[in-house]
Amino acid sequence: MSSDAGGGITSGYILDRVTVQPGRLGEYRERVAREYLPQALERGMTLVGSWIEPPLELQDESNDLYLLWSFPEFWSMRRQSREQGAAAWWEDSADLTVSRERLFLAAAELEAP
């Protein structure tokens, strides 16, 4: 965690859940890797991992793509997102998706008894 002040932190995780149009998962993943990922890395984000659900690509139905990112400092990332016009990428790729949500997470470790 970074920037402690009054109990505050500005580092954390982002979980993107994107419901992809049937048959477009490969194309969408390729666009994420080629277009979104490089700019996200420039903003200080790290792609922790990506997953699909259910755990195989469906033929005629949607898969959900999960992208888990970490970021070291929220406001720096946010400012660069605005400067890079990151929102436009989501709009440009929206024809490949059905819906999406973006969740912000903080680590909450569990210890085994």
């Binding site: 920037s3 500005t10 954390g12 997102s81 929102a87 819906s99 912000f104």
Partner: protein, 227 residues
Amino acid sequence: MIRQVAMLHLREGADGEALEAFEAAMAGAHEALGARRSHLGRHIEGSVGGGDYTWDLLFDEAPEGDAAALVAAAPALAPYFGDGPQGVVAQIDAVRFEPQYGELPEPGIRDFVKRTLFLRVEDGAEAEALARFERELMGMPRYIASIRNWACGRTDPALQATQWTHVWEQEYQSVEGLTVDYMVSPYHWGVVDGWFDMERPQRIVSPLLAHVYCPAASSILGWTEEA
């Protein structure tokens, strides 16, 4: 009671004695306008989108005419808002509203910082999303202790035409309460900011904002409790 909050944008090059005369005249603005209270605060560096001053007024009843007409009809103030040699204010960006939500746990706060945010919820935002946005916005004081007093409300375009839909105001004992505590709170960036962030699908607030803060000697948000 009606509150008017205005952001004043200065003419380019307005400075020195002209501003001193303007600020002196504005100290008596409430008397010149028939208002109960007034306060003029010069913006602190870091303010964005709201010009140079925050001008707060409290009226017992809605005044006649919009903010520009009001000052134009007040001889003690009009020259500073006009095109003449004393003119220093280029634009008045004002909202009016009846006081709505807020809390005043520290009415005696002194020598502090008042922050004002004008924002616009996009046309077409769903009522459920709007209600949740307002609830989460007004939840901030529960998680950010540096917010000593606060007020939040929808603007009333029948009282003053404006592009802004909401006013979110806070009083902090020090500027760090805003620039540090408010900014590093995960409730801010992890909950409330989603309504503002262009990358997040839940966004309903226009990216055009007026975020300003100014020094004040005694509580402005407490006026409505005194009245």
